[in-house]
């Protein structure tokens, strides 16, 4: 018996040991960027620092926050870098003194993109806009309010704010500005809710919907692939969703995490963002192709849990 079992146990322990041994490795929890975007960034980073492995957990903002909360509760948080949509969770972390300050020595970075003196940062700009399938809709809306018009009945879609960070910020912004009545009107006008922005953008491109409240960068990517879409920047303002990134104090390799952050704020990193359809935060770098050079936008905030719960019961969403 022992003859069979012992080598296995020994091998297992060896493998376990090697797996747990710390290499030059950091873990990034990210929401608000799609897989190919994150992978492009990691590839760019690895061109500069090939020795550092970046493990990525990417999902909707809701899921990333929930996972992190569960890990914090268990006392075993994993990420070396947290990158979310919405500022709320970062304020929470900052209050508990769980964020490591990085001195804001980045040339060309405007002060409004440095939060709390460098505890966390904005590294690209993400907007919620109205995307339109031009094959289905010929007369474009001009404001958020227009979406409740009868001519767009059963054509409008947005992402599930429980899952998607930009949608949560859009919900917060629009319910704040226009009241929850705006969403009741949208519901009456047949607003559909899809799980995530990328899914919604696929369906919009294929003509399942005519218009969408969605993020700008993904729509720019689909337009580049040939999708019949156009972006409407509402005259009452595109919604700027804060997408902060920070290094938590529990990170075992804050040095490596900081290298990644510095890369994101470098010219090279910023150019990758622009290629993927985001606006940069460093001055002097041009915005994405085909997008207006200056975008009038208003900063949004995540919806409160009361607003979210009312939205959920309005649209029959379960959480």
């Amino acid at each position: 018996m022992n003859r069979f079992v012992l080598p296995w146990i020994a091998g297992f322990i060896f493998l376990l040991g090697t797996a747990l041994a710390q290499k030059d490795q950091i873990t990034l929890y990210v929401a608000g960027a799609q897989l190919p975007d994150v992978e492009a960034l990691v590839r760019g980073f690895n061109r500069k620092h090939p020795e550092i492995t970046v493990q990525v957990f990417r999902s909707g903002a809701g899921e990333v926050v929930a996972k992190l909360r569960a890990e914090l509760e268990a006392g075993n948080p994993q990420p070396d870098l947290v990158w979310l949509v919405g500022e709320g969770f970062f304020r929470e972390l900052s209050q508990k003194n769980l964020l490591r300050r990085v001195p804001p020595t980045f040339s060309g970075l405007a002060a409004q993109y440095v939060y709390e003196g460098g505890r966390y940062y904005e590294v690209r700009l993400l907007h919620s806009i109205i995307a339109v399938n031009t094959r289905r809709v010929s007369t474009l809306p001009t404001s958020w309010r227009d979406l409740t018009q009868d001519r767009f009945k059963n054509q409008v879609v947005m992402a599930d704010p429980n899952f998607s960070g930009p949608a949560l910020v859009a919900l917060g912004f629009l319910s704040d500005r226009l009241g929850l009545g705006y969403f009741e009107a949208l519901k009456a006008n047949g607003l559909a809710v899809e799980q995530s922005n990328p899914v919604l953008q696929q369906k919009l491109s294929r003509g399942e919907y005519g218009l969408a409240i969605t993020n700008d960068y993904g729509v720019r990517q689909e337009i580049a692939k040939g999708a019949p879409l156009t972006i409407v920047y509402p005259r009452d303002g595109a919604i700027l969703a804060p997408t902060p990134i920070g290094i938590p104090t529990w990170s075992k390799r804050p040095d490596l995490a900081e290298k990644f952050l510095r890369f994101l704020l470098s010219e090279e990193g910023q150019r990758i963002f622009v290629e993927r359809g985001y606006y940069p935060v460093i001055s002097g770098i041009p915005g994405p192709a085909g997008a207006p050079a200056r975008l009038p936008s208003l900063r949004g905030q995540e919806a409160s849990s009361e607003v979210l719960e009312r939205f959920n019961s309005l649209f029959g969403l379960r959480r």
């Binding site: 747990l20 799609q34 992978e39 929930a66 995530s196 959480r319």
Partner: protein, 481 residues
């Protein structure tokens, strides 16, 4: 020794069942609060019950056609293929196929259809041997002049236990299925317990996501319990195949069903994977899928995990084979992890192991796979060739026990061991329920990669990987005799 034996056994049992105990402790506290989700529990129950009835009916029909038509290896393989494709791939395939025809696959009808496609072969496999014996009884009754409605008296009572057992098996599988309702239910706001538990777990609104998910998992266990208690009722003795004139029409119908089922799940995948949706040009997405690091990582991790799981489990089962009592009691203990929905095991493991260094590593997933799939390996060797007599014969003729096992005990067991491996590997390769709950960054599995590509709008890449997974799963057909 007398006391140490049971004591050790009890400790081992406690350790093995610890994930379930953790779930029970945490879930009970939130059980009261989860009564608000009674409608989801009811949806789960009704959907699983309805799906079971449909699958049983279709499985029984197919079994009848197969017996009457004398289905050969290939035809049967075609029918079984749908079962080897991971359920969520069936779901994605159905989604795309129905889209081609301008139909919506989301919601209750889509879920039921996907389940029907996927689980009918299981019902077919479970019912066919029983139906064959019962048809012989029916034949005997007809020879003795039993006609008309009275034939049902011969047909149904002997078949009833088999129907109950097959129904119980399918019901538990449907109840615990995460992939299909995740793909086809959630977008239409049709929630079942596994998807709601997942949503709870990943909800930023919930004050205690783990506890609430645990409570939902307990509901799931509660709903599964009656079917578990059905157990393995005695079955009609499997009879030898009777020579009969194969009916071509039956074969034709069988072939028709097989092709339709395969078509429903693959056509959409093929279209999506091969064609640019905007230009309509032929533009295979396999390369693009392969170039996603997540996919490559997922494939690598899944191959590794599935390989290690298979080898470890088969080795463990072989090592335990000389101790049939131990093997049987261990299998009896672990059966619960195969029979109960994977969501229970997944959440239990999170509750138990989140504070340990195991959390956030692939080892947690390996542990989950090992627990979940071990009954398959243990059962295969438990019911495999009876070699005790051969080993005793060797020992009587002078071979010491280890040598006797090595020389004459294990060689006849290699065939069932390989069969177990062929069964376990594809299941582990395309596992989703546990992976979705437990995967660690950098340790995504193939199933997670597909689902995340799908949720990330990478439809074409998801379709391409789905097709590849289908191919891998079809490999398991080769393992069949």
């Amino acid at each position: 020794m007398r006391i140490a034996g049971p004591l050790f056994g009890g400790l081992a049992a406690l350790l093995l069942l610890a994930p379930l105990l953790a779930l029970l402790l945490r879930g009970l506290a939130h059980l009261a609060g989860s009564f608000g989700d009674w409608d989801v529990a009811l949806t789960s129950l009704l959907l699983a019950g309805g799906g079971t009835l449909l699958s049983l009916l279709a499985g029984l029909g197919l079994a009848y056609l197969s017996i009457v038509g004398g289905a050969g290896r290939w035809l049967e393989g075609l029918i079984l293929l749908s079962y080897l494709v991971p359920p969520f791939v069936t779901g994605i395939g159905l989604l795309f196929t129905l889209q081609t025809f301008g139909l919506k696959a989301y919601g209750v009808p889509g879920i039921l259809l996907a389940w029907l496609l996927h689980y009918t072969p299981l019902a077919y496999l479970l019912l066919k041997p029983q139906l064959r014996s019962v048809l012989l009884l029916l034949h005997a009754a007809e020879v003795h002049g039993v006609r008309g409605i009275r034939r049902l008296k011969v047909l149904f009572p002997p078949l009833a236990p088999a129907l109950l057992v097959a129904g119980g098996t399918v019901y538990i599988a449907l109840l615990g299925n995460f992939g299909v309702p995740a793909v086809l239910g959630v977008p239409d706001r049709v929630y079942v317990l596994p998807t709601l538990a997942y949503a709870r777990l990943t909800s930023s609104l919930s004050p205690d996501p783990l506890g609430q998910a645990a409570a939902l998992a307990l509901w799931l266990g509660l709903l599964a319990l009656p079917a578990l208690l059905l157990g393995q009722a005695p079955m009609v003795e499997a009879a030898a195949e009777r020579e009969r004139e194969p009916r071509l029409w039956a074969r034709g119908l069988l072939l028709g069903y097989g092709l339709a089922a395969l078509g429903l799940s693959t056509l959409g995948l093929l279209r999506e994977a091969l064609q640019n949706p905007y230009s309509g040009a032929l533009e295979p997405a396999f390369r693009a899928a392969w170039e996603l690091p997540l996919v490559r990582q997922g494939l690598q991790n899944s191959l590794l995990l599935a390989g290690v799981t298979t080898v470890l489990l088969v080795t463990l089962a072989l090592a335990l084979r000389p101790f049939p009592g131990l093997l049987r009691s261990l299998r009896g203990l672990l059966d619960v992890y195969y029979l109960l929905p994977g969501t229970l095991l997944g959440i239990g493991l999170i509750l138990l192991l989140a504070p340990t260094p195991l959390y956030g590593t692939p080892w947690l997933l390996l542990l989950a796979y090992l627990l979940h799939l071990s009954p398959l390996a243990l059962r295969a060797l438990e019911s495999g060739a009876r070699v005790e007599g051969l080993v005793l014969a060797a020992r009587t003729h002078g071979l010491a026990a280890p040598r006797a096992w090595l020389r004459v005990g294990y060689p006849p067991l290699l065939a069932p061991a390989f069969a177990a491996g062929f069964l376990i590997f594809p299941l582990a390769l395309s596992e989703l329920t546990l992976s979705a709950l437990l995967y660690a960054p950098g340790a995504e599995t193939l199933g997670v990669a597909v689902l995340s590509a799908l949720n990330g709008g990478l439809y074409r890449e998801a379709a391409a990987i789905g097709l590849a997974l289908m191919g891998f799963s079809a490999l398991a057909l080769l393992g069949r005799r």
